[in-house]
């Protein structure tokens, strides 16, 4: 597997412009001859599909939901960063680049991060032109708020539903292109495999989730915008349908998978109430601006929080990190919560929870001020937990939230499989070992509106259009394989529902490959996962047939892929014998319990090559270079 990042030469601030000036393009008269498949209709997929269609390409867009508007980007709450410097507080492209690089703990590709920061401002302009109603100040100009881990106010927002508004913007552009006949939209359709001919991606095989029909679609290039894989933990903040299938299938067909062990665990979710919980609901990180996080000093303290006197409360973040206090970065907050709970200080029925207390903020700033800031979040919490944060502290616990790892891509966002591109959360490129708040949507839209529409031309222009259609033998073969796999799932003769195995996998992954990891636990997981996989294939029952709307079959197929992918994730976490960003290896920490990087041995992207299920994967490395910003130890203490 060859890893050529194709990063252009020259000073970092000129790389992207220079690249556009020198890249090969497809002319407007030729574009309608090229077919491009986009899988996924979230922020990355919808923006890419609509932008390419508007340029003239013939686009086919696929999503498993019943409408493209339901992709999980819709649930992003907080906001989107852009280096506009509207607040005159010293923001710049360099500073956004710096914050993202530092937040990622120096495990991202510098040139990609710079490009992301550079394109951030254009995203806001684009969204506003589409009618995205960003919050405005009294004078009518755009408002900003601050977000964790940075020293400037650069986050743009629409109430607590920035994701929905940005996605509606991207989806309206998509709707227009669908109406114009430039995009053929396939809803309730799931990718089940990729068709590769002579080393190039030539199309996909999908299943119509309503009729069960399996069909092939040929194209000159395929773009995966299929999101992240945190449902490998079963319980996460992701939607139930989020899955690794598209990227895993691509990986099995030859695309390198980069840094699968980098998963962000969000510190402020509502703790699970019981075994059958289907999802963890995120509470906005902004709550940490005014809430104080604590646990009782005494183990197993059963008193109501109000009855625990000040002297018996352990405000562990404030004590350990005096400068940032409750506003330490996400990974630091998550790890500390797990630590205190592991010590037996956790609260709530499961003992996996810490208090987030607004008592002091309400006393100091007044109930009205706090109500204006967090009223809707308090209502949301009360609806789920049936306790009012106005009267008693919230309980929170970390939840898997975002996967920084993904398919390896070069500067053009092309994977190691020629003709296959990956954008948004599905690729690995911009967030290193940890993602900064309010930057996921920024990356999706930068990739979709501004990068892929141009860079895909470089690949397409080198190849004639329409070389292969779905009559090619490779399509027949792949379809057969897909049908066999679906048939095998339906033929299982066990009696247990799919969910049982998903919960088991989630527990293994959360225990051994979650907030903190160690070699022993990871080896243990690598032994346990194949056993679980075997049991799944023997003991699962998938009811119904393949020729119907069959949600158990959908879930079973996705879980079968997670059961293979999970092993790779643990291999990667074991191989990365250092701590960085969200990847905390207990063996490598500073005296203060902070992540301890090993730049000498691990300043690289780990790219894995599939060698067959039950075979160890092969590791390839892309060395990371640090020219614009020298390596430095992350420090949020002073």
């Amino acid at each position: 597997m060859e890893l050529n990042s194709n990063v252009p030469d020259g000073p970092i601030e000129n790389k992207w412009t220079h690249h556009i000036d020198n890249i090969r393009l497809v002319g407007p008269r030729n574009r309608p001859h090229y077919r491009v498949i986009v899988v996924g209709s979230g922020l990355a997929g919808a923006s890419a599909a609509s932008s390419m269609a508007a340029m003239g390409y013939q686009v086919d867009c696929f999503c498993f939901q019943d409408s493209p508007r339901r992709a999980h980007s819709i649930a992003a709450q907080g906001g989107i960063n852009a280096a506009k410097n509207y607040r005159n507080d010293g923001d710049s492209i360099y500073r956004l680049f710096y914050d993202t690089q530092k937040g990622g703990d120096f495990r991202s590709r510098e040139a990609n991060v710079w490009r992301l920061a550079e394109l951030s401002t254009a995203i806001i302009d684009q969204a506003v032109a589409q009618g995205v109603p960003f919050a405005r100040e009294y004078g009518g100009l755009l408002a900003n708020r601050s977000f964790g881990g940075v020293l400037v106010e650069r986050t743009f927002y629409c109430r607590g539903e920035t994701g929905q508004q940005l996605l509606l913007g991207a989806n309206s552009a998509l709707a227009k292109e669908i109406a114009a006949g430039h995009v053929n939209m396939h809803t309730r359709t799931e990718l089940l495999d990729l068709v590769v001919v002579d080393g190039r991606t030539r199309g996909i095989v999908v299943r119509d989730l309503v009729t069960g029909a399996i069909s092939s679609h040929a194209a000159d290039a395929v773009v995966l915008a299929t999101g992240g894989y945190t449902n490998v933990f079963n319980l996460s903040t992701n939607a139930r349908g989020c899955n690794v299938t598209a990227t895993w299938r691509a990986h099995k067909r030859g695309a390198g998978f980069a840094n699968p062990c980098y998963v962000q665990i969000h510190p402020t979710a509502i703790p699970a109430a019981g075994e059958h919980q289907s999802k963890l609901t995120l509470m906005s990180e902004s709550l940490r601006n005014d809430g104080r996080i604590w646990v009782p000093k005494q183990k197993g303290d059963q008193r109501a929080p109000a009855n625990i006197p000040e002297s018996e409360r352990y405000y562990y973040l404030e004590e350990r990190y005096p400068r940032f206090g409750n506003l330490v970065p996400r990974d630091v907050a998550s790890r500390n919560a797990k630590e205190v709970c592991d010590e037996g200080l956790g609260v709530g029925p499961t003992g996996a929870g810490v208090y987030l207390d607004f008592r002091d903020a309400i006393e100091e700033k007044g109930a009205n001020v706090i109500e204006t800031r967090y009223g809707n979040l308090f209502d949301m919490y009360e609806r789920i937990a049936s306790e009012s944060p106005r009267k008693t502290p919230m309980r929170i616990y970390p939840a898997p939230h975002y996967s920084m790892g993904g398919l390896w891509v070069d500067y053009n966002l092309m994977t190691t499989l020629p003709g296959l591109f990956a954008i948004g959360e599905a690729n690995f490129s911009d967030h290193g070992a940890n993602r900064l708040g309010a930057s996921s949507m920024m990356q999706c839209l930068a990739d979709g509106y501004f990068v892929i529409p141009i860079t895909i031309g470089d690949y397409l222009s080198r190849n004639p259009y329409g070389e292969i259609d779905t009559n090619h033998a490779a399509f027949r073969e792949t379809e057969q394989e897909v049908k066999q796999r679906v048939g095998k799932l339906l033929d299982t003769s066990g009696s247990k529902p799919v969910e049982v195995f998903h919960r088991e996998l989630g527990k293994i992954m959360m225990d051994e490959c979650g907030i903190s990891r160690n070699a022993e636990g990871l080896k243990d997981a690598i032994a346990k996962i194949p056993e679980l996989r075997d049991r799944f294939w023997k003991e699962v029952r998938v009811p119904g047939t393949g020729e119907q709307f069959n949600q158990s079959l959908e879930h079973a197929g996705r879980l079968a892929d997670f059961l293979e992918f999970a092993e790779l994730m643990c291999h990667d976490a074991l191989d990365r014998d250092e701590s960085c960003g969200c990847h905390f290896r207990e063996e490598h920490q500073t005296e203060d319990g902070e992540t301890l990087r090993n730049d000498g041995d691990f300043a690289h992207v780990s790219v894995w090559e599939h060698k067959g299920v039950d075979q160890p994967p092969a590791l390839h490395k892309e060395p990371l270079e640090f020219d614009a910003l020298p390596l430095a130890q992350r420090n949020y203490k002073t």
Binding site: S51, G131, R541
Partner: protein
């Protein structure tokens, strides 16, 4: 807690369908409504029966994928709440609960409780956008927008496209949905150039999709999980009237053959 569930089962759109009774027990009050159905489905699967199909995805009230008419109300008894955010503690122990799919001619049943809401997407495609390409745009601060107008636009744009308004309406009208979509853009300066063409095309599409007419029952507003006001329907009607008088467009090309 235990419950007596009466659930609509239907193998596909053209089957007659009917109610089937399912008792469930040992349900914790902290279980969400959909988790209760998950538990029922796991039990059905374990004992060799077919689980019940229903749509859901984000399970945090924003994707709009979940539905269900529960005891005659879209998204159940709790105001401003989607089914995925409804908890069993909102029901009495031992209660009978009737669960049906969205009922509307324009939303055919896919299976059991899942319906096809693609008519909504077709209304959007008729004009629910501002025509812009991806690329350099003016700075947003070049066009100041009164924050009160922005807030009102978000009040409309907060629609999650779930279809509860249609399910709640005795006529199966999609006026609240269409009005929310039209108003979001017609309020903002960016939506002005296409304002009158948009409203005519979207309303025309809505009518062709087979939704009923608005009779001002107000059920849509009462059952909307995002509490979108029917004032937007009035706003859309005013725009439509103004458009048809001042800037009528020829929709004959879009007419469907009889």
């Amino acid at each position: 807690m235990k419950f007596d569930l009466e659930i609509w089962r239907q193998t596909q759109g053209d089957d007659p369908g009917g109610f089937v009774r399912y008792p469930v027990e040992d349900i914790s009050p902290d279980t969400s409504f959909l988790e209760m159905l998950d538990i029922l489905n796991e039990n059905l699967t374990s004992r060799g029966d077919d689980p019940i199909a229903f749509d859901s995805d984000c399970r945090e009230g924003i994707c709009g994928m979940c539905s269900l008419v529960i005891n005659g109300e879209a998204h159940g008894p709790k105001r401003a709440t989607t089914t995925c955010q409804l908890y069993m503690r909102h029901f009495d122990d031992g209660a009978s609960i009737t669960i049906e799919p969205w009922r509307s001619r324009a939303f055919p049943v896919v299976r059991d409780l899942a319906v096809d809401r693609s008519a909504f997407d077709r209304i959007m495609r008729a004009g629910g956008y501002v025509t812009v390409h991806s690329g350099p745009k003016p700075d947003p601060n070049d066009i100041p927008v009164d924050p009160a107008i922005t807030e009102k636009a978000i009040d409309a744009a907060t629609c999650i496209g779930c279809g509860a308004c249609v399910a709640a309406c005795p006529n199966g009208a999609a006026m609240l949905y269409t009005a929310a979509k039209v108003s979001h853009l017609s309020l903002l300066p960016q939506g002005q150039p296409e304002r009158y063409e948009r409203v005519q095309k979207m309303v025309d599409r809505m009518e062709k999709e087979g939704f009923g007419s608005c009779r001002n029952y107000g059920e849509c507003e009462a059952q909307c999980p995002k509490e979108i006001s029917i004032d937007f329907i009035g706003r859309m009607n005013r725009d439509l009237l103004r458009a048809s008088v001042l800037e009528p467009i020829d929709l004959r090309g879009d007419m469907e053959t009889q």
